[in-house]
């Protein structure tokens, strides 16, 4: 077992060898002949338990493709996905996902959307209601619990989707540009929230973002993909574990930002 590029983050003890999520030599090819596109080209990366990592890269470089294969939703051309060291054949509640597009169930109210996964598990009513209320409160949508998705704005829908994924308590959370449609205040609130959630819980997060600051702020490691669908570089973010939004203005932070922005050019 080895980490593909850089050394694992230092808060991970070295005798913990089994990654929570491992993507091993993943390649995805779309189409045939002239239309053949290699969307993901031999990407290997792994997330230690309770690691928060981000993937950045130019539009169309294969980030969403990679994430949906990691979730088990589409088949890789070659390569493997392992959770806790065991290959997984398909999707499951262990890997929650927040999609790039809006994916609320239009026939369910906001609260029922958040409860969807809990219902499947057969959770008791009282516990279920408590959890739904808790996560709606976190994303600031308690007031819209009974509304149908068609009455929500784009950013509100995305926040419900985040609450729905979190309420299901996944071990690994995969997020595809979850804050893309949000205003900067809400976005920063949710960034702080995710940082706290990650610090308090055992959740492992792999997130795609176009926002370099967000990637540095939240991550232990940032994976940079390039236009060819390959993993260009992995940067270990050696900032203190506890982070405040003000940290975005510090020297070290800006050094990381400069490095990543240059790598993306």
């Amino acid at each position: 077992m080895q980490f593909p590029t850089t050394i694992p983050p230092k808060e991970q003890p070295s005798e913990l060898p089994v990654p929570k999520l491992e993507i091993r030599n993943l390649t995805k090819v779309f189409g045939q002949g002239k239309q053949r596109i290699t969307a993901v080209d031999d990407v290997s990366l792994s997330l230690a338990p309770n690691e928060f990592s981000c993937i950045v890269g130019p539009s169309g470089c294969g980030k969403s493709t990679l994430l949906s294969i990691a979730a088990g939703l589409s088949k890789a051309t070659s390569g493997k996905i392992l959770v806790d060291g065991a290959p997984v054949p398909g999707p499951g509640a262990d890997r929650g996902m927040v999609f790039q597009n809006y994916t609320l169930f239009p026939w369910l109210s906001v609260a029922e959307n958040v409860a969807f996964g809990l219902r499947l598990k057969g959770m008791a009513k009282a516990e279920l209601n408590r959890r739904v209320a808790h996560y709606l409160d976190i994303v600031g949508l308690s007031g819209s619990a009974k509304a149908y998705p068609k009455a929500l704005s784009g950013g509100m829908k995305q926040r419900v989707a985040i609450a729905r994924a979190l309420a299901n308590d996944p071990e690994v959370l995969l997020m595809d540009e979850p804050f893309g449609a949000l205003d900067s205040q809400t976005k920063e609130q949710l960034q702080s929230f995710f940082h706290d959630l990650w610090a308090k819980s055992h959740i492992t997060v792999l997130m795609i973002t176009h926002d370099v600051e967000e990637a540095i702020f939240l991550s232990q490691r940032v994976h940079i993909m390039d236009k060819t669908g390959q993993l260009h570089e992995t940067i270990t973010i050696d900032l203190p574990t506890h982070r405040e939004l003000d940290m975005k203005l510090t020297r070290e932070f800006l050094d990381y930002k400069r490095h990543i922005v240059h790598a993306l050019r």
Partner: protein, 298 residues
């Protein structure tokens, strides 16, 4: 600082001082979509105009009918006047036979339509959901849709006799394949992400069928049934034209034999009214039962 770089952004001059192109009427400016009430596409439509247009569309055929018949351009035996049809209708209602016909025909339609829904909905959902079911049933169902049911009527009567069963079978066969294909297509319009997100929340395939595909297609199922019940009435008349002792279609045939065009026309009007009523009932059901759906139906 930005104002000096962006022209026209802070134009405080009076209209006469502005360059001539600024003085154009905004409505004539080709660069912008011109407002329109009559040709509005999904931008709202005033209620009064809707009522007026509906009234006009209904009034024109009635006016043509009235002028042809009252003006005696056509022999009254071929085209009775509207008032003659209404008067005849009332006497038919009073005689009581018409009520029996209405009940007999409606019962046949309800039976055939219900069987077609009972079979068509699950088959359509299965075809739309599973590749395997699409291959297994789809080829047959899509081909059967092009079978001319009218041509099968004599055969069906040979096989099933001339009583109720044959009529219900004709209605059933007439619409069941349409139900299935239209519902299968509706399932295919569910975005992949909607199914995928359910899997990542721990859903099994059965959960996805029951808790995602079925609720997601309910609006289309209702719409399909609403459209195809019109087909059911068509096939009812077809089945009654050939073999029946009562029913609206039967009465129409008998009226033809005695050249009672007024009776035939009133029966047609009755079918029309029943059709409108069921259409309205489906729309009401849609609005009450599926408040989450964006209804495109008027």
């Amino acid at each position: 600082m930005a104002a000096s770089q962006i022209p026209h952004s802070s134009d405080n001059r009076s209209p006469e001082d502005r360059p001539p192109e600024d003085r154009r009427e905004p409505a004539l400016d080709r660069r912008y979509l011109r407002p329109s009430v009559f040709w509005s596409i999904r931008q709202g439509f005033p209620g009064w105009l809707q009522v007026t247009l509906v009234a006009v569309s209904l009034a024109i055929p009635i006016l043509i009918w009235a002028s042809l018949s009252y003006g005696q351009f056509v022999d009254a035996r071929f085209l009775p006047t509207p008032s003659a049809v209404i008067v005849r209708g009332f006497s038919m209602l009073l005689e009581g036979d018409l009520i029996v016909d209405i009940f007999a025909s409606s019962a046949r339609v309800i039976a055939g339509f219900s069987f077609a829904a009972l079979v068509g909905i699950p088959v359509g959902l299965a075809m739309g959901t599973f590749y395997s079911m699409d291959s297994l049933l789809g080829g047959f169902v899509r081909t059967a849709r092009y079978l001319p049911i009218a041509a099968f009527v004599p055969l069906i009567i040979i096989w099933a006799g001339i009583d109720e069963a044959s009529k219900i079978i004709i209605i059933f066969l007439g619409i069941v394949f349409y139900n299935a294909t239209m519902i299968a297509d509706a399932v295919k319009f569910i975005p992949n992400e909607t199914l995928n997100v359910a899997y990542t929340l721990g859903a099994t395939r059965w959960d996805v069928v029951r808790r995602v595909i079925l609720p997601a297609t309910l609006p289309s199922i209702l719409d399909t049934l609403r459209v195809n019940i019109a087909g059911a009435w068509n096939f009812l008349v077809l089945s009654e034209l050939i073999a029946a002792e009562n029913g609206l279609g039967f009465t129409i045939v008998r009226s033809q034999r005695y050249l009672q065009t007024d009776r035939a026309m009133f029966c047609i009007l009755v079918i029309c009214m029943i059709g409108l009523a069921t259409d309205f009932a489906f729309k009401l059901l849609f609005r009450l039962w599926l408040p989450w759906a964006d209804s495109k139906m008027s």
